[in-house]
């Protein structure tokens, strides 16, 4: 049990997928302008990453490995993710319209979110078993959502500030992300 909790804490705080592993930066800067979109995107990412992590793990160990097709991993994974996103979108539209309206526009964007593919690949590279894959995928996505929401909170504040013209928008966003990342460095050493 302890190792799962350690994995959870490590993936959310210590090795935060956005701020320490640099994955998923495009949506991080793209959709963090307001709190609502950040929460929506965060939820969509948690949902898809967890599912994708588990499914790609099954694909790797029950489909690719037995047939010696390991070199097709990248293609197989991206197809699984693209199909999954499409499927989740259709399923939500039919059965949970409320959630679909909330996540709607963020779902298609997730296919090219490198955090999803990144987590799937890390699961395989680290040789996690099924339970660890589940925990790690979920925790990484929660870490992503946490960083995104925190960052959106900060960005909403400085939308009102006077900023030197050349630094408006993305440059200041990146520097802020750097400071946020620095504060997350404070968690280093908490868990190995």
């Amino acid at each position: 049990m302890t190792e799962y909790i350690l994995l959870l804490v490590s993936a959310i705080f210590v090795n935060n997928i956005l701020l320490a592993r640099y994955l998923g930066n495009c949506p991080f800067l793209g959709v963090s302008k307001s709190m609502d979109t950040a929460v929506g995107m965060g939820m969509a990412v948690i949902f898809v990453t967890t599912l994708a992590g588990v499914i790609t793990w099954v694909v790797q160990f029950y489909l690719l490995d037995p047939f010696g097709l390991g070199y097709l991993r990248t293609i197989a994974f991206i197809l699984v993710i693209a199909a999954l996103v499409q499927f989740v979108e259709m399923f939500l539209q039919k059965s949970v319209p409320g959630l679909y309206r909330a996540l709607g526009i963020f779902l298609p964007l997730i296919t090219t979110n490198c955090a999803v593919l990144g987590v799937a690949l890390i699961n395989i590279n680290e040789k996690y078993d099924f339970m660890k894959t589940l925990v790690f995928s979920f925790a990484s996505a929660v870490g992503f959502a946490l960083a995104l929401v925190l960052f959106a909170g900060i960005r909403e504040r400085f939308a009102l500030m006077k900023v030197p013209k050349p630094f408006e928008g993305t440059p200041l966003g990146l520097i802020t992300a750097g400071l946020l990342s620095m504060s997350f460095l404070g968690f280093a050493g908490l868990v190995k």
């Binding site: 070199y71 097709l72 991206i78 690949l121 630094f167 750097g178």
Partner: protein, 196 residues
């Protein structure tokens, strides 16, 4: 529209990842040293040029409804080629770049150029566009890598260049340094850009 302008727009006017804020993940992650920046940049350039050629050749045959999925399959195929080639010939670089090689698949620059340019233009122009964008990306990564390597370790391309009592600025090679450094570079590029 001339070939030269299609090629050079990627080198300054629309240079990724500065002008087009796409493909940030590899930009931030692998630029701890100048050499890694070049390796990552060239790998991306290869994928970009090849996928632009194929997308442009097939642009009349791919139905528009499944175009994005088709582009992703095309890009993923070239990424696998790069991955296997690097594993065979540049193993140490392959280990440093790690999962960021397979992640070229989801680099928005590659998909973005396929969708925005190659799917609408002839093969020759698409090659010029891919090559320009790719080399612009490589140059950006190399510059960022050099700055971080110089300040973070006092080295340049692995050779020690600063004075011997130089205290390395470890912050630069860690995650926050990447964000801050890229932010400042972007800001300075905007200053130069608006002066004209």
């Amino acid at each position: 529209m001339s070939l030269a302008t299609e090629f050079t727009k990627g080198l300054w006017k629309e240079i990724p990842p500065f002008r087009l804020v796409l493909g940030l993940c590899p930009t931030l992650a692998v630029t701890t040293a100048a050499k890694n920046g070049i390796g990552m940049g060239l790998a991306t350039t290869f994928v970009l040029v090849c996928s632009n050629i194929l997308v442009s050749l097939l642009r009349k045959f791919i139905p528009s409804k499944v175009r994005i999925a088709s582009y992703i399959v095309i890009i993923a195929s070239f990424v696998v080629i790069v991955e296997l080639a690097m594993q065979a010939y540049f193993y140490s670089l392959y280990q440093i770049l790690g999962i960021f090689i397979p992640l070229i698949v989801v680099n928005c620059i590659v998909l973005g150029r396929a969708e925005a340019f190659a799917s609408k233009n002839s093969v020759v122009y698409s090659v010029a566009d891919g090559l320009g964008m790719g080399l612009g990306f490589t140059a950006s990564l190399t510059v960022l890598g050099s700055i971080r390597e110089l300040l973070g370790a006092g080295n340049l391309f692995g050779a020690h260049v600063l004075w011997s009592s130089f205290e390395p600025f470890t912050f630069m090679v860690k995650a926050p340094g990447a964000f801050v450094c890229l932010g400042f570079l972007l800001g300075f590029m905007n200053i130069i850009g608006t002066k004209k």
